[in-house]
Symmetry: C2
Subunit: 99 residues, 2 copies
DNA sequence: ACGAAAGTACGATGGCGGTCAAACTTTGAT
DNA sequence: ATCAAAGTTTGACCGCCATCGTACTTTCGT
């Protein structure tokens, strides 16, 4: 729980989660659009993995990242959905309820 | 969004939210069981208030705290519920879905 | 008016986490 | 074998946040 919240509180890591949600499949570490260096990205992937939010596996020289959506939804229903919704670059979250 | 996550990532603040959820009504600042000093508690109440998680109002010399449950649920459905469930001191969160 | 109780404001401090660069490992292609 | 690409590891650094104590304000009771 504490781990999960500490994971998603960082904007870079939330961006990773959001990009995984919006993609059709898994994404390699280098396939993300992140404003940090490679070593910092590695750090973030580690945090996400240890928090149980993503799963990682090798595909040649690339390390693929898969969102563990179903498992997270089971423990924290609504959390991922709320994050992804609020992170949408285009759209007005404040007007979402006002229509 | 960022504010809300930064608010609930702190264990002391999550404890405040949990105690508010478990109580029948509002609670004064001094009515909480917190492992920090009075000034630190004030700091936490401020963070929670600015994040929109609680509402504060005066009652004599006491400042009452009210959880804005409905409003938070509307923007982040499932978030408060997931937090309170996972924070229960007695009980097995992992068995919550299987039990 | 006086004192006590409840919070707040402020300044200082310590530790943790995000960040980077450089060196290293592993895999794949020529 | 050799080189390139993709990540990892390590060490160092810096800023921010939680924390505290003290002083202050406000409200209530006598």
């Amino acid at each position: 729980m504490q781990r999960v919240l500490e994971a998603v509180v960082d904007p870079v890591r939330r961006s990773i989660v959001t990009q995984l949600c919006g993609a059709s499949g898994d994404i390699a570490c280098g396939g993300f659009d992140l404003p940090v260096s490679k070593s910092t990205a590695t750090h973030h992937f580690r945090i996400l993995r240890e928090a149980g939010l993503i799963r990682q596996y090798y595909a040649g020289t690339s390390r693929m990242n898969a969102l563990r959506r179903d498992e997270v939804d089971e423990v924290f229903p609504g959390l991922l959905d709320a994050i992804v919704t609020a992170e949408r670059p285009t759209g007005d979250p404040e007007r979402a309820t006002a229509g």
